[in-house]
Amino acid sequence: MEVFVTAVITMAVIGIILGAIIGIAAKLFKVEVDPRIDLVSELLPGVNCGGCGKAGCADFAKSIIEGENPPSKCPVASQEQISSIAKALGIEVGDAVKQVAVVFCGGDHNQEKVQTLYNGVSDCVSASLIAGGPKGCSYGCLGMGSCARACPFNAIEMLNGLAVVHPHLCVGCGACIDTCPRKIIELAPQTAKVHIYCNSPEKGAAKMKVCAVPCIACRKCVKAGEENQFIIDGFNISVNYEAEKLVDTAIFENVKCPTSCLLSETEHLKIEKASKSEVV
């Protein structure tokens, strides 16, 4: 009994002393923090993806309060979340355009004409260092999934050797862009629904040798579309995402891309999903 009482008393005394020390330290070494940072951090999604260019959500909250960034710079937050932040702080929402990542390549295993038997590390940088990767095209997706592993939102799926972005999951944080050794992932406005899934600057004939779905710069789409909707760059055509009127799915009524590399997002996803199920 005596032992028990001594133990309880000792523990209690130690607890009181330590508590007092902590209390004093908290008063003495208090750091003044703007309470609004906590408030804004609460309202942000809190995934710390870094898509805004800041080190994390708390850092971004600080930059909003300091006026460095508008709340809409957060690619993840919904419209309501952003407006509630703006309301809480009494500032403008800002006008950043929502963006999503696009992998500019359609060369899955069915479409690539040259496929060597790659035996090595399943990582895109590693693969690109060995004879430029297993596929014949030196500009296309390597298909090792480095971007898919880097995506904090699981928005990139590897379908039959091709990285495909699920636009409804992508928040446009851009984490995938740097992981791609081929630099074929870019951000495009969320409103753009039609893309040209090819980025190879090679001549059309050279592309056709290695791939079934390259852009051969036939310009059918350019002629069918309105002015300024496409950019012709050498032997490759891309959609002009800065055009006043973005090209939309209506274009397919006028033109059918002979190599099927001009596709709508949904069509692209559908094709790749189908090609995967074929393989399985």
Partner: protein, 357 residues
């Protein structure tokens, strides 16, 4: 003969060179030493054979049964885990499970029942290896994990030793020399007289051949040493581990015995008895759980030696090899971190910078 070859070769000379599609792409180097894990494991098992035969010789059929049980149950444990974890059965093919089973058997008394082998095998494979991610990821020697777990959980079975076939003892159990020493130490203040009974030249001869109580693989020093020579010859272990392990034990016990002859028997007794040689040659040198550098191997050997001596002389258990190795296993990441190699040209750069400064 030559003509035949030519006839075959002639039409094939028109063979088309392959298109890129059939070619294999991989990083250099494109050739390999033709050595794989399976061969490594097989060589270790060959090195174990002298000790296995010694065990069979001294303990008879019981030893053979224990060995077979342990190997069979280990392989079964591995297969069951791989099946349910959805892993390929590589680790069964590469013989690592067989080796673990064999090592476990070497660490058991020849008189243990079959179900103890079963528990031991599952403890070794599952608790010792697979929960950490399988071969290559286990921090502790799987066979030793099983042995220590069994020793603590079922001490009655793990510390009753069967006599060898050549012992002049009536009865079904006997004591190990270390056990004798351990009990007398606790009873007598000065046990020098008792030590003389177990630590004398005739006894040493018996110990060297293996005619004493103990685990079925640990008794015969000569067989274990032969295995050690094979291992070092095939470069399967770093010689630094067993040499520094045994040397540390020898030095430490020799010093204690010289100043306090009543506390512990002479060094030779410590080297020949118990699981020291089995531990130093086969258990501590397990590649996965020992340091990678030679420097680290020296540290590891010395650490194992010191802990073994401390447990043997002052500890509650008569034997400390398993605990010592497991404890040092846990320090391997730390050793690996500090006992690193200096790259080629490192000293040259230091000299140069030193000259400038």
């Amino acid at each position: 003969m030559n003509e035949e070859i030519k006839q075959e070769a002639a039409p094939k000379a028109e063979m088309q060179l392959p298109k890129g599609n059939e070619l294999v792409l991989s990083s250099s180097p494109h050739i390999h030493a033709n050595e794989d894990v399976q061969k490594v494991m097989l060589k270790v098992m060959i090195a174990l054979m002298p000790a296995v035969f010694a065990g069979m010789l001294f303990f008879g059929n019981a030893a053979i049964l224990v060995i077979l049980y342990c190997i069979a149950f280990s392989v079964a444990a591995e297969m069951i885990w791989c099946k349910f974890a959805g892993k390929p059965l590589n680790t069964v093919k590469d013989l690592s499970a067989v080796l673990t089973g064999l090592l476990l058997a070497m660490n058991l008394s020849a008189g243990v029942p079959w179900w103890l082998c079963l528990i031991g095998a599952f403890l070794a494979i599952w608790l010792g290896k697979q929960v950490f991610g399988g071969l290559g990821h286990n921090p502790f020697n799987p066979a030793l994990v099983a042995r220590v777990a069994l020793l603590i959980a079922l001490p009655k079975y793990m510390t009753s030793w069967v006599p060898t076939r050549f012992m002049d003892i009536d009865g079904i159990t006997c004591a190990t020399p270390l056990g004798v020493v351990s009990t007398t130490e606790k009873v007598l203040q000065n046990a020098q007289g008792v030590f003389a009974n177990v630590a004398n030249p005739e006894a040493y001869q018996e110990y060297f051949l293996g005619n004493m109580g103990g685990c079925l693989g640990e008794t015969s020093a000569v067989a274990l040493l032969l295995g050690g020579v094979i291992l070092i010859f095939f470069k399967l272990i770093k010689w630094q581990v067993p040499v520094f392990y045994v040397a540390t034990v020898a030095a430490f016990t020799a010093i204690i015995n010289y100043f306090f002859p009543g506390v512990t028997p002479p060094a030779l007794f410590h080297i020949l008895t118990g699981g020291l040689l089995l531990g130093a040659i086969f258990m501590a040198t397990d590649m996965v759980t020992s340091p990678m550098t030679k420097k680290g191997a020296v540290l590891f050997g010395i650490g194992c030696g010191l802990i073994t001596c401390i447990i043997r002389i002052w500890g509650n258990y008569p034997e400390g090899v398993s605990f010592a190795i497991l404890f040092m296993n846990s320090l391997v990441p730390l050793i690996d971190r500090f006992a690193t190699k200096k790259p080629f040209g490192f000293h040259a750069r230091e000299d140069k910078e030193g000259a400038k400064a």
